[in-house]
């Protein structure tokens, strides 16, 4: 891996305490791989003054403390340049430990009854039967592009186009935790009971956010997700066991 791999990379200030490392302009798997590999390279060893590295669709954001950067040798009036050089150097010569592979996580989902109030809506607009929607939804492998918005909330890519369904014009006041939904081209899982406008097609008994564990989320950016259909009995069994 050389700098060529990150051709077109740009480093842009995001205020006075963060730098955006921009690795692409579109949401796609090739940009995602660059983001993942840049993120892992940057995170492999501490960078002076950098406090946190956060990947998104096309960017890795490096949060830093300007005071620490200066204590580490950055010239006070050139902190951004000094830090940008170090980020570029790291990406030019990434440490060998940098890996880019996430794991595949199977998520049990019950697509039945009141867990799936909008399964009919999705089926109707896809011109499929509910059983065919479930089959398609569980057959597909999804990519976790990033985790954000709320703790443990995965931004998933890979929804079959035919299943894309517009959000409800009027969001529900409460979407129960674990709800699996479709909002436009996106599919995702609500980690908490929140208001929400997505079409709910099922629910998982798994907790997406578990603050006592490390990592505190079931899913991390770069992971693959497969849904597996379960019965109501299995849902309650797993929920009780969790």
């Amino acid at each position: 891996m050389t700098l060529d791999y990150f051709t077109g990379m740009q480093i842009i200030p995001l205020g006075d305490q963060a730098l955006l490392v921009e690795l692409g302009q579109t949401i796609d798997e090739s940009t995602h791989r660059k983001v993942q590999s840049a993120w892992r390279s940057l995170a492999a060893e501490p960078l002076p003054g950098v406090t946190e590295l956060v990947p998104a669709y096309t960017t890795v954001t490096a949060y830093y403390d300007p005071v620490q950067a200066v204590q580490s040798g950055a010239p006070a009036n050139k902190i951004v340049d000094w830090l940008s050089d170090r980020l570029r150097d790291r990406l030019k010569n990434p440490p060998k430990t940098a890996k880019t592979k996430g794991c595949t996580v199977e998520i049990p989902v019950c697509y039945e009854g009141d867990f799936a109030p909008d399964l009919g809506v999705v089926a109707k607009q896809a011109k499929l039967t509910p059983a065919e929607v479930i089959k398609l939804h569980t057959k597909t492998e999804y990519l976790v592009y990033l985790v954000g918005f709320a703790p443990g909330f995965p931004y998933l890519g890979g929804l079959p186009k035919i299943l894309a369904t517009p959000r409800h014009a009027k969001p529900r006041m409460v979407v129960p935790a674990g709800s699996v939904g479709i909002g436009g081209q996106q599919t995702g899982i609500y980690p908490y009971a929140t208001p929400g406008g997505w079409n709910l097609i099922g629910r998982t008994p798994l907790a997406l956010f578990r603050p006592a564990l490390h990592p505190p989320t079931l899913l991390s950016a770069g992971d693959r997700v497969k849904f597996r259909a379960i019965t109501r009995e299995e849902f309650f069994r797993q929920e009780a066991g969790a």
């Binding site: 200030p13 205020g15 956060v54």
Partner: protein
């Protein structure tokens, strides 16, 4: 032990935040005005990152079962101990049985109360900060409630000596004070300094000019995540799809309706609106004090300029720390 007789409108335990977990969607959060929290902690001999109480609009009423040292910084609250004024920005002695009552903020909105030893709640993901949305940190992830009891860590040697001195001279508080407003190079009243954001070029020229020329008004759409401002509509030069990306406290994002939102420390970790500008980190604290209808203006500063302000603040804080440690020498 401290007992909450009245919880106040929205009183939470906060330290300097929970960095390191944004990749999991967990925001940094922490005291909205870090400088005020750090100063209050220094004034009672705590580590700057010790947990404090953040209060908003109506503060709590607290009863103390033991004598200790407290200090509060921030908005102008009607704070009283047993009915006598409890001065701001300095160490204050509290005796066993005393009642500290904050009442209403006369100006501004929020204040931070430090207690010697720091508020002792469990560390969750490296922080004691309350994160209500996820129900974690602080007091079981929630705001203070009536009859809640708070315990504190061990007061430092410094804090015990100051307490003894006040007791010996029969004083309630020290005659000297440290005001956060005098640390570093503060902005002029009603003006905050801001840098251009990553999507600055996406906006029309009139929008760019209006941002730095208009007087903006704070709306009631405000919480620990951000403050929505009202003013001239800020339009994009052409419709553009923004790909969700990181945001930081201080980012000024502009949703399609064209009215900017200034993000505060409990912002979400990623955002999908164009980032027109970024408030200088040292000036963000002013947004935590705005009430609906309060005016605010933006003045342009470079990233280097904003960082210079941060460095100046850090140097001043070092001086304060040194000054306080020499006080008893």
């Amino acid at each position: 032990m401290i007992t909450a007789q009245q919880p106040g409108l929205l009183t939470t335990v906060q330290d300097l935040g929970r960095p390191g977990y944004q990749q999991y969607g967990v925001v940094v959060g922490g005291a909205l005005d870090a400088l005020a929290a750090r100063t209050a902690n220094l004034l009672v001999g705590n580590e700057e990152n010790a947990a404090v109480l953040e209060m908003a609009q109506t503060g709590p009423t607290l009863s103390f079962s033991r004598s200790t040292l407290v200090a509060w910084c921030g908005a102008d609250f009607d704070a009283q101990i047993n009915g006598e004024p409890c001065p701001r920005d300095r160490p204050v002695r509290v005796a066993a049985g005393d009642i500290l009552r904050f009442g209403l903020a006369r100006h501004g909105l929020r204040a931070w109360l430090a207690i010697a030893g720091g508020i002792d709640v469990p560390l969750v993901m490296g922080s004691r900060s309350t994160y209500r949305r996820a129900g974690l940190g602080g007091l079981a992830g929630r705001a203070l409630q009536g009859a809640d009891r708070l315990s504190c860590g061990h007061p430092s040697e410094w804090s015990q000596q100051v307490l003894e001195k006040l007791l010996a001279s029969n004083q309630r508080a020290t005659t000297w004070s440290v005001r956060p407003d005098t640390i570093g190079r503060p902005a002029r009243v009603g003006v905050v300094r801001a840098m251009r954001g990553p999507e600055w070029e996406w906006f029309t020229e009139p929008a760019q000019q209006a941002f730095f020329q208009a007087t903006w008004v704070a709306t009631k759409d405000a919480d620990r995540m951000g403050v929505r401002l009202k003013g001239p509509g800020l339009a994009l030069a052409q419709p553009r799809e923004m790909i969700s990306s990181a945001v930081n406290a201080g980012i000024v994002q502009v949703p399609p309706a064209g009215q900017p939102i200034v993000l505060l420390p409990s912002r979400q970790s990623v955002g999908g609106y164009p980032r027109l500008a970024a408030v200088a980190a040292v000036d963000l604290r002013h947004f935590t004090q705005l009430r609906p209808g309060d005016p605010i203006r933006f003045e342009e500063i470079s990233v280097v300029g904003a960082q210079d302000l941060l460095l100046a603040q850090a140097r001043d804080l070092t001086r304060v720390r040194l000054g306080l440690s020499r006080l008893l020498a």
